[in-house]
Symmetry: C2
Subunit: 432 residues, 2 copies
């Protein structure tokens, strides 16, 4: 039984109960969402040390951070440190996107390092192994790809990113569309490269039922990745992206029919005025499946600050209904993030997620802000710092700035104007 | 003649022409906007070395950065460096909010240091001088306040922040509303402190005609500051804020009747779902006067990251019609910003402003992103860096990360998958 099949059978699983506890809703609400497919609980049956996390409609917006070995200089130790940093900063999920080195060991270390759900993109490893074996990644055999998918699943990975909808017809559509930047999805590019080189249809589409069977066995959640992610504003909501999304809608239906939990991965670069349409379209085409969006960044030119651009797009998207935000770091478009950029990226995504939860008036979301505001009013610095979204950074900045406050307000002289006002307005003693 | 009176008389001034050039619109469009009061060009007649900047409907969204001496440790040199940093990062305006030290000299240095419009908040200096003179700021005499306003005006300040609408009736409203944090506006607090201590109505309201006469003489733009700025989400759009905004609408009308350019200052802390309503309300009550918003931050708990929270709120507000964003730095709520935080704050606000201009489909806004995206597609790093919103930071991060790219993509082996795909899709040679 998967969570989906249990929910449909009317059963509230321990995972659903734990999710309900964390979300402060009734377990029945979670069961109904999982049964309808509007909520997923990515949790591999074989995974140990996981705290089940619900992603979907009506729940707190979640964020995901990525790590993984890339290039010859990457080290497992450094990537695990990034994962710990992301978890410390409050990420809800981790993706291990390793493309080189000892990918098996990295994955096992990642699974041990966090109690969040962990996702992977098996195509990377299958291609890296083909590259080792044949000297060329595109010589990968389909059976080798499926073997890697099975290996990740058996290891306990909770969700798998798979470009199942990037078919030849979608590639043809992309060719016709005259995109400014035809293809920016790294996984999608390699898959399409394979399809072109081998003159074969996408095996993840052709053998989708086989994938569903593997996923069902371990209750792994499928994350239907989009090969046609727009890499610039000009390509957003074009024919290639939308046609693939139509196909992903079909694959969502098939996954649900097979009893497999499924979510859909999306955007990239999207102008603010297309965000709501993008989410509405996905919700309609994919029948309410959770939407896992990368960013979105809302301008193409924020290199060095793309975590900020993505926070804008993430907040508006989550407000419009996207439930899962893939973080973007300030090194996006420029290189790989260091550990500080990982932390900052997670917090930026969490701010977007929380701001959206407030905007949606999610029950309980405003309490946190209210508690902090009361502490601010009372000049209770200890409480203000502890309630900040990143207490570590808030405390550091505060300490660096303590001199500002020691010398503060030389303006009033003998009496504090603010104190007079506070006393009048509410009898408190707030000073400036 | 002020810009407003000239525009009404059908005259296109050199300032309007320069603004039209920078905005790439017909000068007549600018004239009409200035005549209607939906565009202001803050430009003191006595100001030298200024490049006229238009703020208002249909124009690019502008951002403002603040500096100023605060406390005993502040130095003019350090604050001027902050101004240079803000200007280097692309701010459209500077506010000198000094509250201590040699405020006159600081202001003159600020006016020399930038060719952007410069604004001030004269109440601070009037109170600081009263504090020196009487040992207590609230002993300030009304004539002393007006003398400082005249002094700033004569020095060439382009726009003045004045809390003209923070009357006793508004203070009473605030008292009745039971706000979580009744008063967070620093200027507003001191003004209300003065009103309570002296048991007198707000002189900036009582003698508003006198202010208008001074402003008209030099064509200084009035920025009607809000004393009731919400300091937490829970207080947003409450009776005190809205009642003051109603009164500011009256003051906008009176300024326009007097031939004085006027804009309105607003928000603070606003949940995302109230941003559009906030802007729509101001546009309606204040008859389309430009809206100069602080942030807004969209959650109370982002201390250490409030520039990100403000970028979210600023982008949505500007999309909804706010034309002028007052930056927020990452040290907001914790202390005064250092020079790096000033730069980062300006860029964050500019990303918000540009993302909104893209969302509004402002003519020409998308060209910049398109040019950068084409450079990205061509792997033209020089062009990508030069078109980035902050080329200095983009180049630094890129250099720090060059190793990532030197060793990039060990996955493919002999051939690059991406190259195969690019060749197929559009005949280019993009590699991964």
């Amino acid at each position: 039984m998967t969570q989906l099949l249990s929910a449909r059978a009317g059963e509230i699983t321990p995972e659903m109960r734990q999710v309900a506890d964390r979300e402060r809703v009734e377990p029945e609400i979670i069961r109904q969402g999982v049964a309808a497919g509007t909520i997923v609980i990515p949790r591999n049956k074989g995974r140990r040390n996981i705290i089940p996390t619900g992603i979907g409609a009506g729940l707190k917006t979640k964020v995901s951070a990525s790590a993984g070995i890339y290039g010859e200089q990457g080290s497992i130790g450094a990537e695990i440190e990034k994962i710990r940093s992301a978890v410390g900063a409050g990420t809800d999920a981790i993706m291990d996107l390793s493309v080189s080195g000892d990918i098996d060991f990295m994955r096992q270390e990642a699974l041990s390092a966090t109690s969040t759900p962990v996702g992977t993109l098996p195509l990377y490893q299958a291609m890296a192994e083909a590259s080792q074996k044949y000297g060329f990644s595109l010589k990968m055999d389909v059976e080798e790809l499926f073997e890697v998918i099975e290996r990740h699943t058996a290891d306990g990975v909770d969700f798998l990113a798979l470009h199942c909808g990037t078919t030849m017809s979608i590639v043809e559509r992309a060719k016709k569309e005259g995109r400014v930047d035809p293809l920016v999805s790294y996984g999608g590019s390699h898959l399409i490269g394979w399809m072109l080189y081998n003159q074969r249809e996408n095996p993840l589409y052709e053998q989708y039922d086989r994938i569903l069977a593997i996923a069902k066995k371990y209750d792994v959640t499928i994350s239907l990745a989009d090969g046609m992610r727009p890499g610039c504003l000009a390509d957003s909501l074009d024919g290639a992206q939308v046609q693939e999304l139509v196909l992903l809608g079909e694959l969502v239906r098939r996954a649900r029919e097979a009893g497999v939990q499924v979510m859909v991965k999306g955007p990239g670069h999207v102008p603010i005025n297309q965000l709501k349409a993008t989410i509405t379209l996905q919700k309609s085409l994919c029948k309410g499946a959770p939407y896992f969006v990368f960013g979105p960044v809302v301008t193409d030119l924020a290199a060095g600050y793309d975590h900020i651009s993505a926070a804008i797009g993430g907040a508006i998207s989550a407000w419009a209904g996207a439930e899962f935000l893939c973080y973007v770091t300030s090194s996006e478009h420029l290189g790989l993030p260091d550990i500080d950029q990982v932390r900052e990226g997670v917090v930026a995504a969490r701010i977007a997620a929380h701001a959206a939860d407030l905007a949606k008036e999610l029950p309980g979301a405003a309490d946190w802000d209210l508690d902090l505001s009361r502490a601010r009013k009372e000049l209770d610095w200890k409480q203000q710092i502890s309630l900040a979204i990143d207490p570590v950074r808030a405390e550091r900045l505060r300490k660096e700035r303590t001199d500002d406050f020691a010398s503060e307000c030389t303006m009033c002289g003998k009496y504090c104007a603010m104190e007079i006002v506070s006393k009048y307005l509410d009898g408190s003693k707030k000073a400036c």
